[in-house]
Each structure stands twice: as C-alpha cells, then as structure tokens.
C-alpha cells in the first residue's frame, strides 16, 4: 500500500481538491494552519535563517574576530569577485561538472540495465534486488573509507587485481591524474541502487500487454527495449536523471573523505572547495566559502526547478 501511494510523492497536492471535503467548516482554514505552524516556524528558523546567514556571510568581509563579534563590514560582491578570479575556480567548476555528469551517465546506464534484467522475475530476483540497496544505505563514511583502502596504491585489492592481468599499479588517490576518476568510481557505486529501484518501479508501470503485442508481431528483445521500454520509460528516466543531477552536484562526503579534494585540487568540486575555504584551513575564509556555496545552490536550483516543472507536467 505504501508503495502505491508514494510513487508520486513529489507532486504537490492539487489546489482545487478542496472540493473533495465539502464538510469543511468555517474556520477550518485556521485549524489547518495550526497544524502547519510548527513546520512553518521550523522552516523559517532552521532553513530560511541559516540560508540568510550564509548569504550575509558571502556579502561581508569576515575575519575570525568579526565572525564571532558580528561587526564585519559590508563588502558587496567582493567575495564573489575573489572567487571568480581565484585560479582554483575554473578547475573546480570543471571537476564539478565532470563528476556530476560522468557519475550520472554511468549510474543511469548501469541502473537501467539492471532494472531491465531484474524485471524478468527469475528465482531470487526480489532478494537480490533488495541486496543491491546495501551500498545506498551504508553511511557514506563507511563506503568512502572502504574504497580508500581498496584503492590504496600499495596494498589495495584493486591494484592487486590489475597486477593479475599485468597492468601496472595505479596511484588512484595520490596521483592528480586519477583522483577524480577514483571518487567518481566510488560515487557511481553508491548511486546505482537509487537508479535501479526508481527505474525498476517505472518498468513495473508499463503494461504487460504492450510486450505481448510486440512479441506476437515478432519483435526481438533488442527491439522491444528500444521501441517500447525506452520510450515508455522516458518520463521516469527524466525524473531520475534530474533528481540525480540535483543530488550529485552536492556530493561532499565521499570526495572529502577519500581525497580532501586533492592532490593539488585535482578532485576539488564546488562542495569541497566551499568546505575547505570555511573549515579546512587554519585561517577560515568564511566570505568566499559562503560565496562558493551560494553558486552551488544556484546550480542545484536550476536542475531542481527543471525537475519540479517536469514532475508537474507529468502529473497533470
């Protein structure tokens, strides 16, 4: 039951549905807001206010002293100018985009292939599909530290496996050429379950008689996938991809734990850069850190609004 109700969650309640409860009494409006009041207060105090503080941080020139005392002078867009002019800006932007799009591409392709495979309902398929959720449920620090050890240059299992097939060992986490690839690999692994589960539920919604008709017409498995599954799955795919974009943009834990954005900024994204500016140095630069964070919000909101628009069009 929960499953059916929830597949459509992100669509907001339709505004005209008040007609369905004709017995709404006078004053019901206020009762409703009484139920909502705690959450509204909460959102203002613990979402809006921190975000406002963050915006304020990005528009002032803070030092450690003025951060505590709160008398930092207003400096307009200086922090943003500093960030744009920083030689780290270009690489960080590039890494953010590469990390996000490469992760998404692989997560989606592998997730879709597995979803189609598991949709065939063989023995044990439900159990195995459940086991695929494990990487997604593990705390990120657990996954990240496990991958750190697996990718260790000298004693990692990955290099040991490469040695077996006579490939030279790779300095996965300590070479600037490989660090970004390494964190992308770990991130793909973590993201596959989400793609698998959402796409699988999308597949379940495709009526079986479409496939039966295609089978009667003599369509091959390959044709069935490209002519039926893929087009009919397009709405679910778009939603999966957009949500994936929003959530991959803000990935921080994995990169920070595995490489701290290094070596030499080789795996620095906006998320880790922003954290390092604010918390990673002895002398924190809260202003520029907040500025980078706000740029990241803008990127996330761009894809987020695209997602909501798409979701609404789907449900109407």
């Amino acid at each position: 039951m929960a499953h059916d109700v929830m597949t459509r969650v992100p669509a907001p309640a339709p505004a005209d549905a008040g007609a369905r409860s004709p017995r709404r009494r006078k004053g019901g409006h206020w009762t409703a807001w009484a139920f909502l009041a705690p959450v509204v207060v909460y959102l203002v105090a613990f979402y809006a206010y921190p975000l406002y503080r963050n915006l304020d941080l990005s528009l002032r020139h803070y030092t450690v002293r003025s951060f505590v005392q709160g008398d930092a002078p207003f400096s307009g867009l200086d922090n943003y100018r500093t960030v744009f002019a920083d030689p780290a800006f270009g690489p960080a932007l590039l890494h953010t985009l590469v990390f996000t799009f490469v992760s998404i591409a692989f997560q989606f392709a592998i997730g879709l292939a597995l979803a189609v495979f598991f949709a065939q309902n063989f023995r044990l398929s439900a159990t195995l599909r459940a086991l695929f959720l494990v990487p997604w449920l593990l705390p990120l620090i657990v996954s990240a530290s496990t991958w750190t050890w697996m990718l260790n240059s000298d004693s990692g299992i990955v290099n040991a496996a490469l040695e077996l097939i006579h490939v030279d060992p790779v300095n996965w986490l300590t070479s600037p050429d490989w660090a970004l690839t390494s964190v992308i690999i770990a991130n793909i692994w973590i993201g596959i379950p989400f793609n698998l589960v959402v796409l699988y539920s999308g597949l379940q919604a495709i009526p079986a008689d479409v496939y039966e008709a295609a089978a009667i017409d003599g369509a091959t498995g390959w044709q069935r996938f490209w002519r039926i599954t893929f087009p009919l799955l397009r709405p679910v795919s778009a939603i999966t991809l957009l949500l994936g974009l929003v959530y991959t943009l803000k990935v921080f834990d994995i990169i920070w734990i595995m490489t701290k954005g290094g070596p030499a900024d080789a795996s620095t994204t906006f998320a880790t850069w922003s954290y390092r500016l604010s918390f990673g140095n002895l002398l924190p630069e809260f202003g520029p850190g907040a500025a980078v964070g706000n740029l990241l919000i803008l990127m996330a909101l761009f894809f987020g609004l695209l997602y909501i628009r798409f979701q609404r069009r789907q449900s109407s």
Partner: protein, 270 residues
C-alpha cells in the same frame, strides 16, 4: 527452466560484484595487522583476528552511543513536526498549502554543506556549537521536508469519509488526527522514522562542522578521526565501519518494503 537458472546465476554474479566492497570491508576488519600489507592481499580471513573489534569495543562505544541518541532524537523531532503538517496538507488543504509543498521540495535540494555553514555561524553566536541537541536539530533538516511529503502523500490516500465520520461523531480535528489518522498511518510513520534515523546516523557534514570539537561525537567522526590520524590499523577502521553499518543492514532486513517505498518517493540522501 535452464534459462531461468542461468538468469539466477547471472543475478548472483552481479550481486556478488556489487557487494564486493562490503565483503572486502568485512574481510579487512578480520585481517591481522601483519597480513594487512600482504601481496597479494588475502582474499579470505583465514587465520584472522578479532583485534579490530576489540578496538571498537574499547574505543568506539561512546561514539556509537552518541549516534544512537542523535538518531532517536532526530526521529522524534521529525515525526512531531511532519505528521501534523502532512495531515494538514493532505486533508485540511489550507490556502497556501501548495506553496508550502513547493518550498519543501526546494528545501530538499539545498546542499547540506551550505546549511552547515549557516548553522555554524548561528550556533557559534548562540553557544550551542558542539552540543548533541544542536546536532539533532541540524540533522532533522535532512528529514523534515521528506517527512512532510511522505505523510502528505500517504494521508491523501485515507478516505475522506473516515474523517467526516469522526467529525460527525463530535471529534475535533486534533482528536481526528490523533485517534483516526495517526493509527492508520503506520506505514508512513515507519518509513519516515527509518530514513530520519538512517540519515542522522550516517551524517558526516553536520557532525564535522557543528560537533567537531564536542565531548560527545557521533560514530561518523569516530571513523573519520581513525583515518585522519594516519592510523594504519585498518582492521580497527574497517571493524568500526562494519559496526556502523549494522543499523542500515537491520533496516534492510526487517523493513525492506518501507525502504523501497522511500527510495521511490524520490528520497535521496545527501
């Protein structure tokens, strides 16, 4: 028939590949220090050791305790805030409810690292940095928007007739909510609790920014400090990781269908 078996075999193979890192974590947690840098690495923990787990019991128990408290606190706060709100959005449908759902969707998309910075600035001034209640409050921001959306969706599926019947019987809206709607929403309550707990238990961003110097630190920081200290005792690190994975594993075993429902609801962790 043979084709079915082949598919099962292939499925087992895929699952084995996917779960290899999990196996490796367990394997390393049981490996002796002296075998840690063996070349090639030992694939099975033959002649293994429980030293790593001894280290967990000796050093990590306080961290695990803190994580448990933070997790349970986050669950309680999330439920108290989101269940009534879900009821209002689903059944009372006030003007502006649609706008609220929209705000909640947007809220879910804000990177945790940015929330952490804002919280840090506020907490520093208020003096609640490095406290457990401060961490619970911050962790709940991950789960509250999700909770409201789940409760709204679920409670929309409860027939209006039930509510109207309760109202005719003279129950107020609060009574209706508490004694009719809530007991029927068990599935939603379980789903929201599971995810709120799991997210709080797994949180690293808020813990490292808001509780980095606290006396009571969660297990994610326990592991992080292990790694950060250039500790070469990887069996202890991986043993802690195994222990930290227990809640996720338990949840998957006892509440798998809720988990799948939550994922499909567009729930994604940071």
């Amino acid at each position: 028939m043979i084709k079915q078996h082949a598919k099962t075999a292939l499925g087992l193979f895929f699952t084995a590949v996917m779960l290899f890192p999990v196996y490796w974590m367990i394997n390393v947690s049981l490996t002796k220090d002296t075998d840690m840098r063996a070349d090639p690495p030992h694939l099975f923990p033959v002649d293994g050791t429980l030293e790593g787990y001894r280290a967990v019991i000796e050093q990590q128990m306080p961290y695990l305790g803190t994580s448990l408290i933070v997790g349970l606190g986050t669950v309680a706060l999330t439920l108290v805030l989101s269940a009534p709100a879900g009821f209002a959005c689903a059944k009372l449908r006030p003007k502006g409810g649609g706008a609220l759902s929209f705000v909640l969707l947007i809220a879910q998309m804000i990177p945790g690292i940015i929330m952490a910075m804002g919280f840090y600035a506020i907490y520093l001034r208020m003096g609640v940095l490095n406290t457990v209640p401060g961490l619970i409050l911050a962790d709940s921001t991950i789960a509250v928007p999700f909770g409201v959306l789940i409760f709204t969706a679920f409670m929309s599926g409860i027939p209006d007739e039930l509510i109207n019947a309760a109202l005719i019987d003279g129950a107020g809206r609060w009574r209706t909510f508490a004694s009719v709607i809530l007991p029927m929403s068990r599935n939603a309550i379980v789903t929201v609790s599971l995810f709120a707990f799991l997210w709080a238990w797994s949180d690293f961003v808020f813990a490292s920014t808001l509780d980095g110097g606290g006396d009571a630190q969660p297990i994610t920081l326990g592991i992080y400090q292990y790694i950060g200290n250039n500790n070469q005792q990887w069996n202890a690190i991986m043993a802690t990781a195994v222990v930290a994975s227990i809640p996720a594993t338990l949840l998957l075993i006892i509440a798998q269908r809720y988990v799948a429902a939550g994922v499909t609801a567009g729930a994604v962790k940071d």
